[in-house]
């Protein structure tokens, strides 16, 4: 157990997460075997369904957009030493923000309405994260517990509003009326068609570009800005931050605000890009996938994009797989997510020691 833990940088940032993900897939393969299915055929269907067709790829990238936002949300808080597991609730509230903006400002043209909708999402998501942030910073209430409670409060609140207040009068379903046409974020296939290029139709929309821009922004913020530096100092050593004249309370609140705003991106992609109305449970547990994505991506934007692509493949491929092999339902993806969180997050030390051990051995062999 006392193997040296100083690993080369590439091993620490690439090799260790890669090994834990491979191990996670091996365990997932065992689960598939245990229910009497062939993991290799399953893998083939998974890849075929997510990357093998243009349409499948579109859906993969659509899910990837969701996961980039929630992954970045978890990562920004993580850099400040906070564990934001409230992505679900923050995205739910962001959806409410979108609906309020879009359905009350229907007279505005699209070029104003779309940015306002996105701002509404960010503002409501940020607010729902700011309260736990404030309570952590000023009152010492543990952020994990408060964000859990805020997830449930959000789900109760949205049920109440959709059933009693926001529901379309004639409709039986708890959902708002459709957002005005000019507020829909254009589908990628429509955008390409405008340039005369034909690509298969899918849910993929321009929000992907926003997600990539957000990843670049987070990179700039965390690694290239004063504020980002302060966030990282608070995350790694709050008492050192105080000596450096940084107020941890202020940074905690700011980090949570940014985190909640980023989680709002999930609502932008799902509602403004695809569903075009507010409905129940549109977050589908993706907020928790964000935790897996952030842990796997080592809370770095590049890692998060790659991890999001992987989860996009899993979600889209998983849907196709469930169609081909009905025994392997989409819950398999949730299982894989859980194993990845366990291996890349909680058991990180185990894999790190394993790799360190191998490196130490190699050194000995060479000497």
């Amino acid at each position: 157990m006392s193997a040296p833990l100083d690993l080369p940088r590439w091993a620490d940032t690439v090799l260790v997460p890669a090994i834990s993900v491979v191990a996670a897939f091996l365990v997932a393969g065992l689960v598939v075997l245990a229910i009497g299915e062939n993991p290799l055929t399953a893998t083939r269907w998974l890849l075929q369904g997510s990357l093998g067709t243009g349409e499948g790829l579109g859906f993969t990238l659509f899910y990837m957009t969701d996961f980039i936002f929630v992954g970045l949300a978890v990562a920004v808080a993580y850099h400040a030493g906070l564990f934001n597991i409230g992505g679900e609730g923050q995205a739910t509230l962001a959806g409410l923000g979108i609906a309020l903006v879009l359905n009350n400002l229907t007279f505005l043209p699209g070029f104003l309405l779309i940015p306002l909708g996105i701002l509404g999402a960010a503002a409501f998501g940020a607010l729902w994260a700011a309260i736990p942030g404030y309570l952590q910073a000023k009152r010492g209430s543990h952020i994990v517990i408060t964000t859990i409670m805020f997830n449930w409060l959000a789900s109760v609140l949205i049920v109440y509003l959709l059933v009693n207040v926001l529901r379309e009068p004639q409709s039986m379903n708890p959902e708002t009326r459709a957002f005005p046409d000019q507020s829909h974020i254009p589908f990628m296939h429509d955008v390409f068609a405008a340039f005369g290029i034909e690509i298969p139709a899918s849910q993929l929309n321009l929000t992907l570009v926003l997600a990539l821009a957000a990843a670049y922004f987070v990179w700039l913020l965390i690694y290239r800005s004063r504020l980002g530096y302060a966030i990282r100092v608070v995350g790694s050593n709050p008492s050192a931050a105080v000596y450096a004249g940084i107020s941890p309370a202020r940074i905690i609140i700011i980090a949570m605000v940014l985190s909640g705003a980023l989680a709002g991106g999930l609502a932008v992609n799902e509602l403004m890009g695809y569903q075009h109305r507010l409905l129940l449970e549109f977050t589908s547990g993706y907020g928790f996938v964000g935790i897996a994505v952030a842990l796997m991506g080592r809370a770095h934007p590049v890692g998060i994009i790659l991890a999001s692509l992987l989860f996009g493949i899993l979600y889209q491929g998983g849907a196709e797989l469930a169609f081909e092999q009905p025994a392997i339902t989409r819950d398999m993806v949730v299982v894989i997510g859980g194993i990845i969180i366990l291996f890349a997050g909680a058991l990180d030390g185990l894999f790190r020691r394993l790799v360190a051990h191998l490196f130490a051995r190699q050194k000995l062999a060479r000497a």
Binding site: V144, I145, V335, G337, G338, I341, L342, L350
Partner: protein, 301 residues
């Protein structure tokens, strides 16, 4: 409101508070030893599934309970391995367990029974029947766990050591007592209690397992634990209060209160979460967790 309604509400409040209480006591044991457990929900869910599957396979509710407990303890040991032996992040491990449980129960249930993740309906001896006042034996077992927890934690040497490990593990280690062993014991006890909670849901209260049947009860139990400030008798009170809220939500539906108007059922559902947030904010009283909870113990070299 006449007496009949009150008795009905009281009765269903008790029924609804039992799974909360078992899970809450599970969290109490675990966190008192310094292992934070947000995977209560996941363990309950796994136990509910394994319990129903076991009861169906062996035709006995008690066999189901045993299998539910074994499954829950197994998941608890995964959490223990990650957070005690590997000194991993306990929150992350809890989140992982909740996701794993939700996915695994659905996928295995679907593969075994092909009924969309449900187990076949349980009947006769496959369920816990009522033994006293219309309640099953499990209800009394869980209620009995309250004084047992209170006595063992507060009045035995083992309990003192276990609490010490949650406050100051280094001191316990210095006294020559194994921190690891105490924490694993606590995690196993938590697993047994979550097993009771889960089996109660699928084999006692309902007649079989439904996907995601815990529906957030593990998190309400967590809220109750904070509300009870990590103590056994207050845990009973907090869980009964939350059970009462749940029971009255059904009764109050559509009822108009003078001065307030109609009470939306969601407002009552939100109460446990809201009360916990307010309590944590320190507005009414203060909830201070065991000092070493969430912190892996590193033996000094």
């Amino acid at each position: 409101m006449d007496l009949g309604i009150l008795v009905t509400i009281f009765d269903s409040a008790l029924r609804l508070s039992i799974p909360l209480l078992a899970a809450c006591l599970a969290g109490l044991w675990s966190e008192r030893s310094g292992v934070v457990d947000i995977g209560l929900e996941g363990k309950m869910l796994v136990a509910a599934f394994a319990g129903a599957a076991g009861a169906y396979a062996f035709g006995s509710a008690w066999a189901g309970l045993l299998i539910g407990i074994i499954a829950s303890v197994a998941i608890g040991l995964v959490h223990g391995f990650a957070s005690i032996s590997q000194r991993g992040n306990q929150i992350v491990s809890g989140v992982a367990i909740n996701m794993l449980a939700a996915g695994l129960t659905a996928i295995v249930g679907n593969a075994w029974y092909g009924q969309g993740g449900r187990t076949p309906p349980l009947e006769g001896d496959q369920r816990f029947g009522s033994v006293l006042f219309g309640h099953s034996a499990l209800v009394y077992v869980v209620l009995l766990a309250v004084p047992v927890t209170w006595f063992v934690l507060g009045h035995t040497r083992f309990g003192l050591r276990l609490r010490a490990v949650g406050e100051n593990p280094a001191a316990v280690d210095t006294a020559g007592i194994s921190v690891t062993r105490l924490r694993y014991t606590a995690v196993i006890i938590a697993g047994v209690l979550c097993g009771l909670a889960g089996a109660y849901l699928s084999v006692g209260q309902a007649a079989g397992f439904l996907p995601n049947m815990t529906a957030g009860r593990g998190f309400i139990a967590l809220a109750a634990l904070i509300f009870a400030k990590w103590r056994a008798w207050p845990a009973l009170g907090a869980c009964f209060l939350f059970g009462l809220l749940d029971a009255s939500a059904n009764q109050l539906q559509g009822l108009s209160l003078p001065g307030i108007g109609e009470v939306p059922v969601q407002a009552i559902q939100a109460m446990p979460y809201l009360m916990t947030v307010i309590l944590l904010a320190g507005v009414i009283g203060k909830a201070i967790p065991p000092r070493a909870s969430g912190v892996p113990y590193v033996k000094e070299r």
